[in-house]
Symmetry: C2
Subunit: 525 residues, 2 copies
């Protein structure tokens, strides 16, 4: 517990008056924001079930019939060869692959139920599965947005600033994708600069994209160097993750299959997440969309086990619905929440870790943004999710990464973590003596029981403005959006790069330079 | 299911262009807002438990020791006489009342586990307990606020407008208190005008304040007339509810005890809700505040059973924490959420219905407002609450009732209701044939399966703005707050007074006029 009210008050004090607290008068210290040390929250409540055991079996059965009777197109010959050799039905000259349920069950059962992904700072190792929860920040947004400069295409500066925020806040446990796509970097070398930044500006577990096998191989090499592992050690140590999205309905494309192959071969983590939007790429019914999600997710997971039995994988659930007026994806809807609960039930049925998301369709940091994001988290947490992606900074259905939204979401995530902390019901906490001492009509503020505890008693919010109306109005009636604008810049000021062995740093530089000299990776993906 | 996309689009159309849809060209029809018919949502998920069975017993035990060893001050001689006669330890010349746990258990066991409160429109009867949930709107705010006129002291016009919104939206199941206090009405007769408005402008179950026995008697009389019941029928038919707040710590004051006595005698409903703010009127620990809450709630509930065994009561949980910097109440905090879960566990331990709240400390309709309100609802719903008060329109820790907040919260409540609707997992919903027909790389939008269902497939939000960024920006970048400003006025336009038998209407008028002529009620409370 590190809630320090003095420190909290400091955040309200203009920089000029904070001189004595600054180190060398140079920059704001990292203690501007009260936060607990890095720690993955634990599921202390039972996951909720949105469907009965029989209904779950009906979804399972329908998805098995999809795999058996309809099949999935695997757009990669090497993958089809592997599948055929493993017993799948692959029609000659066709991309269609059918698997019977016994084969799927046998393969899926090979996947580990839980595992640890190593971070270069071992204190940031990520446990995946069991009762552990990991929050990751927004990923893959084409635009960045803040109040000062508005919405703009992603660029390296914004990319790096988001990485700094992801590193600064202990409630962000991993960086599962580029928070924003830096389109000012050429696509052939972007992955080299970006992954090098992930390895340098953060010391948490990160993600590499499956956009052609070269990018997987380059990303894994940087992760290997950053972790100081030999090649032999690396392939037995999960250090890096990728997300495999199927091209719903019923397709796994070439780069994704290359990614699955390379990651599985190297013992690295694949989070297999179909993007099954009910009413668009999936049936308009939530149960139908979940049937499709389950078929596609298990197809990818089974395939990874063919490549390497025991390859670490995660069951990704991203089923939502579209806005039927526009066809745009909607998030944080009631349908989304129910889909998250059922996705968790399905993942548990197969003893797989479950990935969900903290997402919204709002264009700005308003009531809608909080409502949809919090409802997404409600589904994810009650659904028993292990990795919750996009949990800080996501806006516009993923079309922009917001700096202020990052901060407001941090407050949400820290609150959830506190909600997931067991209540102290010790005799001391029951406070019978304090109640006796105060008696009727008294007040607890001045008691020793309160004085001994008040600093650490409650979660201290980052964003919530609890000043009274008059004071708040005099201050210009700032919204949470306004307050977060000030705070994200303070967090960037307070960021300190994590320590990195200079030899490792040099080795990363050398690798990136060599690969750039070789031309990087093909851009025809 | 009444989601109609044409109707939704209409809400975006200026009134002048909606002429043909208007009835008699006079006012907007009630179909401007897609909403489902009045129906109480059901708990379809298991309540979550924040403490173990042993820990729950520890809280129970500590609260029993409070009642046995410390006691509670009952500031009403008639109440103490009743308690003494029932076996409580009441020291002569003292207000302190001690009860042993056997006596408390015996009395609390007399309270019904569930019951129905009759509404004058029987379609709006309110079930309390079991798996039923009831949402009530903001209550008792001294100020009203909207974007147009800012924050002002409560007045009759705003009061009536909130009642109209409470009537208009089917997701509001009852009106548990004046949404805003109309201070422009003299305190001696305010309750007469206000309760008459409740009985006329709404046809849902309502609440009367316990601010001196005359007000309880007057309010019950209006409820009796509105329900068309004889006096004998009324005392055997719950028709109206009151909230009994203890003056924490450890006191029940005169008006509250008069209210408990009159309501219980008449077989009407008392919602006993201690206001146990951890760090102020309660110990700084959540477990300690819950111990105090439990002692006070059970004292009131046991007392009601002395007055009339079987009197309908509700266990109210309102434990939250203060902002330790200012002493102001905080809401929707992690501590609040955990307290809500434990309060539900306690209520279930005593087989009592459980009341919680949808509250926040935000000054405006921003990310904070949604975050705190949604987290409060998360605690209430996962805690198994039966009545959720303040669920629409509450701002500033209850210091203001917001018109826009009312609308944004309606969206939250409707989403929760939809989340609580069982998922359709029929063969038809599993959509295997649709998946087969579309096959890989297809799209579901044009399929018959989608076309047959799209209108009703998904919850249509009131507030969420799902336009793309460019269109939204061209429209002036409205926040949810801005959109709700437009919508609350449309809802007021669309409001239609519920039918009322003219004879009943006249009887209410006659009663109110007679009581006003008599001078109303004393104002020295």
């Amino acid at each position: 517990m590190t809630v320090d009210t003095d420190v909290l008050l400091m955040a309200e004090t203009p920089p000029a008056r904070r001189g004595r607290r600054r180190r060398g008068g140079e920059k704001a210290g990292p203690d501007l924001f009260p936060q607990k040390p890095f720690r993955q929250p634990r599921h202390i409540y039972k996951p909720l079930e949105a469907v009965s055991a029989d209904e779950l079996e009906a979804i399972h059965d329908a998805s098995m019939r999809v795999l058996e009777e309809i099949g999935i197109d695997f757009l990669h010959e090497e993958a089809r060869d592997l599948l055929r050799a493993a017993g799948a039905d692959v029609a000659p000259g066709s991309e269609r692959v059918r698997m019977d349920r016994a084969m799927v069950a046998e393969l899926v059962a090979m996947a580990p139920t839980e595992f640890t992904i190593r971070a270069r700072n071992r204190a940031h190792d990520l446990h995946v599965g069991g009762d552990a929860i990991a929050f990751s920040c927004v990923a893959s947004a084409p635009n960045a947005v803040d109040q000062d400069k508005g919405r703009r295409p992603g660029n390296q500066e914004d990319y790096r600033n988001f990485l700094k925020l992801a590193q600064f806040f202990n409630i962000i446990h991993c960086v599962m994708g580029y928070p924003v796509e830096p389109v000012d970097l050429h696509a052939s070398v972007r992955h080299l600069d970006c992954v090098a930044d992930l390895a340098r500006l953060t010391d948490k577990v990160f993600h590499i994209y499956s956009l052609g096998r070269e990018r997987n191989l380059d990303g894994m090499e940087i992760a290997r160097i950053a972790n100081g592992l030999s090649e032999a050690e690396f392939v037995n140590t999960p250090c890096v993750a990728t997300v495999i999205n199927s091209s719903s309905p019923l397709r796994l494309d070439t780069p994704m299959l290359q990614g699955l192959i390379e990651m599985a071969k190297a013992g690295q983590v694949s989070i297999v997440t179909p993007f099954t939007l009910a009413g668009a790429m999936a049936p308009v019914t939530v149960a139908g969309a979940l049937t499709l999600q389950n078929a596609e997710a298990l197809a990818g997971i089974a395939f990874a086990q063919i490549v390497r039995p025991g390859a670490p994988v995660v069951y990704g659930g991203f089923t939502s619905n579209v806005d039927m007026r526009s066809g745009a994806p909607a998030f944080g809807t009631p349908e989304y929440m129910k889909a998250a609960l059922v996705s968790g039930q399905l993942a548990r049925r197969y003893n797989l870790p479950f990935r969900s998301s903290g997402v919204c369709a709002a264009n700005t940091v308003d009531y809608q943004a909080a409502l949809e994001t919090t409802l997404s988290e409600w589904g994810a947490i009650n659904g028993g999710a292990h990795i919750i992606k996009h949990a800080a900074g996501w806006l516009e259905g993923g079309l922009s990464a917001g700096f202020e939204k990052f901060i407001t979401d941090i407050d949400l995530l820290q609150k959830i973590a506190e909600y997931l902390t067991p209540l102290d019901v010790s005799e001391d906490a029951l406070a019978l003596d304090a109640i006796r001492d105060v008696g009727p009509a008294g007040h607890f503020f001045g008691t020793q029981h309160t004085q001994d505890r008040y600093k650490d008693a409650f979660y201290a919010p980052i964003v919530s403005d609890w000043r009274n109306f008059e004071t708040w109005e005099e201050a210009g009636s700032p919204t949470a959006h306004d307050k977060a604008n000030r705070l994200y810049k303070k967090a960037l000021e307070a960021y300190e790069p994590p320590a990195l062995d200079p030899a490792v740093d040099e080795e990363i530089t050398a690798f990136v330079e060599r690969r750039k000299a070789e031309g990087g990776a093909p851009t025809d993906f």
